[in-house]
């Protein structure tokens, strides 16, 4: 899997990256730029070329002209806006930027905001892990499901945009639907988890029904309520 045909001109791969987010707390672009200049002056050169995601703060209505003005202002200061978040695709297109969804997953809107099934590339292969996930390790299956055939130790964290299946003991944390998919579920053969979560709704071990501990359990959201049930 993933092996490219001889002569392939490109590969398309998912990568985790850290991006700085410019959270706009004032709809007045000039006010934003004036304060930004003060910040840039404190660390000359540090922000040069820095890729930025522009996101409006809560209850800040950033309209398209203001967004366009902000983008050109940022570029003039040597910054590189690459995407907007929590704005419409029309606004993103108008500003010539990409659109990130669910920057702060989970939100209930997330499920409805998922791309409709008209794109043929929606299938993401399930990630399969066959070695124990040790304390301190973190595994994230971006865009799909995660299957683990070994144990997840206390202090380890496994995450997926889709479902998570664990065929060893689950002693660490498992977070399904981390991009906001409320239909994601967690299945494990032996529940000793520190924490389980679906689309941001979580349950700690001390809140789990003692009768379920050590047994095979399915974890799913029903409305806003995280349900743990024996399977």
């Amino acid at each position: 899997m993933g092996a490219s045909a001889p002569g392939a001109a490109f590969e398309l791969k998912g990568r985790m990256a850290t991006l700085s987010v410019l959270r706009v707390l004032n709809a007045d672009t000039n006010a934003v730029l004036v304060q930004l200049d003060a910040r840039l002056a404190q660390a000359p050169g540090f922000f040069d070329g820095m890729p930025l995601v522009i996101a409006p703060g809560q209850s800040v209505a950033l309209d398209t002209p203001a967004l366009v003005a902000l983008v050109s202002g940022l570029k003039a200061r040597g910054l590189t806006p690459v995407a907007v978040a929590d704005l419409s695709s029309e606004q993103a297109a108008e500003a010539g930027l990409g659109l990130l969804r669910n920057l702060d997953a989970p939100s209930p809107k997330a499920a409805s905001a998922r791309p409709t099934s008209d794109s043929p590339s929606a299938y993401q292969p399930t990630r399969v892990v066959t070695t124990p996930v040790r304390s301190g390790q973190q595994i994230y299956a971006r865009g799909g499901d995660l299957v683990i055939t070994a144990a997840v130790s206390a202090g380890a964290e496994v995450m997926a945009d889709g479902h998570i299946h664990i065929y060893g003991s689950l002693r660490g944390r498992a977070l399904a639907g981390v991009q906001g998919d409320v239909n994601a579920r967690i299945f494990c053969r032996s529940l000793h988890a520190e924490l389980v979560a679906v689309a941001g709704h979580y349950r700690l071990s001390e809140q789990m029904d003692a009768e379920l501990i050590d047994g095979p359990v399915m974890i799913a959201l029903q409305g806003d309520d995280l349900q743990l049930s024996a399977v």
Binding site: T131, R134, S135, S153, G155, G168, S169
Partner: protein, 268 residues
């Protein structure tokens, strides 16, 4: 080509140095040329356990800095033929260990030794990282209690990702579990994790179980690797560990409760 064995645990005080000394002495006694290296710079202990603290002239950091050569710093053990000790510095800290320096020292030792045993410091920082980085085998030392087991689990994660073998995509470091300070009676009372519990959590091959024993403290105090105290339970347990490591089959001992008087009478 020498085989590099790191003795590691994450947690302190679980018996890494005791195990390093016993294991290295056992390998040498079996006829293998063995060097044991103390990576715990600043908290030098191995020389005490090996009973050579009065013979330290140069140390690991001196060799790394080019102030002495390996032969000047290596201390030949007086009891066991073919065993040498490279002591740590007491006056420096872990930052004195450099990647290139450690690599050069291990390569130098590999020329005329069969096994190099690296006694790791506690923690997962620089000293511990350098001790495990070049390893071919790892002895993960664990006490049967939850915090030690969790720290060992963390170290196992590092062994599979932050070592030369992992980074270069070679065969993974071979991991072996050694459970120390085991008291079957306390396991029976539910006060201590059992061998099965620890094995289930860490899911690696069990090399041996060392019983809690006054022999360990006595041996440390007199500067003798406990494996040389052949009449003691801990000494015999380490002897089993070395034999199993070298490929012999030996039944696990010291993992069931000692029979009381009645148990012994009716044992048959």
């Amino acid at each position: 080509m020498a085989r590099i064995v790191v003795v590691t645990s994450g947690k302190g005080g679980v018996g890494k140095t005791t195990t390093s000394a016993a294991f290295a002495a056992g390998l040498a006694r079996a006829g293998h040329r063995t060097a044991v290296v103390d990576f715990d710079v600043g908290l030098r202990n191995l020389d005490l356990i090996m009973g050579c603290e009065r013979r330290v002239v140069y140390d690991f950091v001196n060799v790394i800095n080019g102030e002495a050569n390996l032969n000047q710093a290596l201390i030949r053990d007086k009891r066991t033929q073919g065993l040498s000790i490279l002591p740590a510095s007491q006056t420096r800290d872990k930052d004195a260990l450099t990647f290139e320096g450690v690599q050069a020292v291990l390569e130098g030792l590999a020329e005329d030794h069969d096994y190099i045993v690296c006694d790791s410091p506690a923690g997962i920082e620089r000293g511990a990282h350098l001790a495990m980085y070049f390893a071919d085998d790892a002895l993960v030392v664990t006490n049967p209690e939850v915090s030690s087991v969790r720290d060992s689990d963390r170290v196992l994660g590092l062994l599979s990702s932050k070592t030369r073998r992992a980074e270069q995509g070679e065969d993974p470091v071979q991991e072996h579990l050694i459970i120390t300070r085991y008291v079957p009676e306390r396991v029976g009372k539910g006060e201590m994790l059992s061998v099965e519990d620890v094995g289930e959590i860490l899911s690696i091959d069990l090399l041996g179980v060392i019983p809690e024993s006054s022999a360990v403290l006595n041996a440390s105090n007199s500067g003798v690797p406990v494996i040389l105290e052949e009449q003691t339970d801990a000494g015999q347990a380490y002897d089993d560990v070395v034999a199993r490591y070298l490929g012999q089959q030996r039944e696990h001992r010291f993992i069931t409760e000692k029979k009381g008087l009645f148990g012994r009478l009716f044992k048959g």
